[in-house]
Assembly symmetry: C2
Homo-oligomer: 366 residues x 2
């Protein structure tokens, strides 16, 4: 997608054949646009854990390229050990994200087919690139499926603006390209449908105000920032036509782990008869887990709640303390939206109800 | 209540017999403790409109003392005009708050009984002081009624900690003393019950992180700050025993206008079978309005969402921009929690169900 009218992905190898791996350091957005080089698997782990990159698909792609960095950093004759160790480090870098394990497992399976270490390294690089390409193409496909829903709503409203509320950033910045929740929005824009996005601020990390609003502005999609508190009121007033959010892990029974606060919006959508959709590439499904309540929920530092950074009048980025000294904060990153509150899951294969039978009907090989 | 172990109210006349009127400038908390003098009715209007003071009861008391300042500023022979004009200014200073009109009307009614302008001024000062005293004593009373609920929960949990979630600041800083939502908590502490408060940050003005957390710390009540997004997850995990919030206006049919985001928490409380109480002195009831949807909802500047102030490392208070230039924000201050989601209303006369019949049974004179 576009930044200052130039096309970017969120992660890419410096060269078609080799590393280092380049990412956009998303901690700096929207105030600074900084490209960072990852040279080692540890660089990739830090980038994921400290949120230089974030979002389901992008975490998966970073883990895949991280495995490639683990491979090229391995001592001769010790590639498999390096991959096992790198995989463990990457898989543990954030607990809730499903795409991590999915990407690591896929690299390990592919690497096992190589004839020798050089061949294995080639396979790993190729597979990591495939994972990134596939993430982008899955997002593009799910966007076209999601477009149908928006189109129907637009026809019902005689072409009047469709107001879509989203929470956090499940935009192209959270994937390799296009995004999950935003892909149907970009597709609707391309189809000439009049869309407007309500962007939840998304405390405490402010992915909405820092990333989603910025990303949509770069793409010229009309959007308005609101606090996380506001969505229910807008729904009561008829100002929201649908919700689309992303997910960090969705059980094969349809329970959705997503950014903390998603559950509250799903409750409000239900209370106001507003369709609530979750968009995800199939790499985000957890095919083993039967209940969302078993999904591990990341707890991050309370400092993310008590302090915040932004741009001063002088044009420098500064961190300010929001609370009195000694204020204690608890900071869970995700919550679980139970399947019963979800209108549908938008995947690269089509839209499915959020229940075991329907999901497995769409993915019969699982 | 206490600040640095000294007792304060949130508003008081400089002298037992006359002004100026003193307030705590709450915009500066918790970083600075500044007492401000109000000399004219315009000072009072600015203090309310720009949120030097805020909260149902305190806005009412400030309006009452504002009427006194209008009276002493009136040209001889023009007291009634000055009161009408001052009342109109005060009543329009914030649209949602019910206590404004209640206080202005009470002062006007009392002033009409004076024999001459000097007598009227005396009556107005006395009535304003009564309104402030009554606000404090009503809060204290409702605290004792609310205590019964907490006591029952504590007995059910064999004396284990009772976790109470509150949104915004309906603490003593929002009233003249004690607070509404916090009064039962202070009463529980005094009764030796083990309480812990989850404090919603309350974007965009951060009344939770700036005021409630600070107020509770000053009173040694254990509390933990959370983002507004987190409450639903804590409820799902069994970490919340009850909710108590305040209200800026409650219809006599039981619909509650309170800080934006309250509705989302009420939905989550219902979904998790958690009691959801609203605490209010009867001055906050709107006896004419039949539906919450008719309550005017204040819209404030989007700048409150896109920028925030806090304490820098250097120890100065600075404002930082959170968004990219040009990001548009919409900022409604309140939402409506429908009566059907409310377990009970805690008033100075006792606890009532949130419906017309029960409310009028408790206040038969209305």
């Amino acid at each position: 997608m576009r930044i200052d009218n130039r096309n970017y992905r969120t992660i890419w190898p410096a060269d078609k054949e080799q590393g280092p791996i380049l990412i956009i350091d998303q901690r700096k957005l929207p105030h600074e646009f900084v490209i960072e080089e990852l040279h080692t698997v540890s660089d990739a782990v830090v980038a994921i854990r400290d949120m230089h990159v974030r979002g389901a698909g992008l975490i998966g792609a970073t883990a895949a390229f991280g495995m490639y960095l683990a491979a090229i950093g391995a001592e001769p004759g010790r590639l498999n050990e390096a991959l096992q160790e790198g995989g463990r480090m990457l898989d543990n870098s954030r607990p809730t994200a499903r795409n991590l394990k999915w990407a690591v497992d896929r690299i390990l399976t592919a690497a096992a087919l190589g004839d020798n270490e050089d061949d294995q390294k080639r396979i790993i690089f190729k597979t990591a690139c495939e994972i990134a390409d596939e993430d982008a193409s899955f997002c593009k496909s799910l966007g076209l499926h999601g477009l149908k829903i928006i189109k129907e709503l637009s026809e019902k409203k005689d072409g009047k603006t469709i107001n879509i509320l989203t929470h956090c950033n499940a935009g192209w910045l959270a994937f390799v390209d296009y995004g999950s929740a935003t892909a149907p929005i970009y597709a609707a824009r391309d189809a000439g449908i009049d869309v407007h996005v309500w962007v939840d601020e998304t405390r405490p990390w402010n992915q909405g105000s820092k990333l989603t609003a910025w990303e949509l502005q770069q793409e010229n999609i009309p959007c308005t920032l609101i606090t996380d508190n506001a969505g229910g009121h807008l729904m009561q007033k008829g100002m929201v036509d649908m919700m689309i959010v992303g997910t960090d892990r969705t059980t094969h029974t349809g329970d959705v782990a997503n950014k903390i606060g998603t559950y509250l919006k799903a409750l409000a959508a239900r209370d106001n008869d507003i369709p609530f959709y979750v968009a995800l590439p199939s790499s985000t499904f957890d095919w083993e887990m039967d209940s969302g309540h078993d999904i591990p929920i990341e707890e991050r530092s309370g400092d993310e709640v008590t302090a915040i950074s932004g741009m001063t009048k002088e044009g420098t980025v500064a961190t300010v303390q929001l609370t009195a000294p000694g204020t204690r904060a608890l900071n869970y990153s995700f919550d679980i939206t139970p399947a019963r509150l979800i209108t549908g899951l938008i995947t690269e294969r089509g839209i499915t109800a959020a229940n075991r039978e329907a999901i497995h009907r769409l993915f019969p090989e699982k």
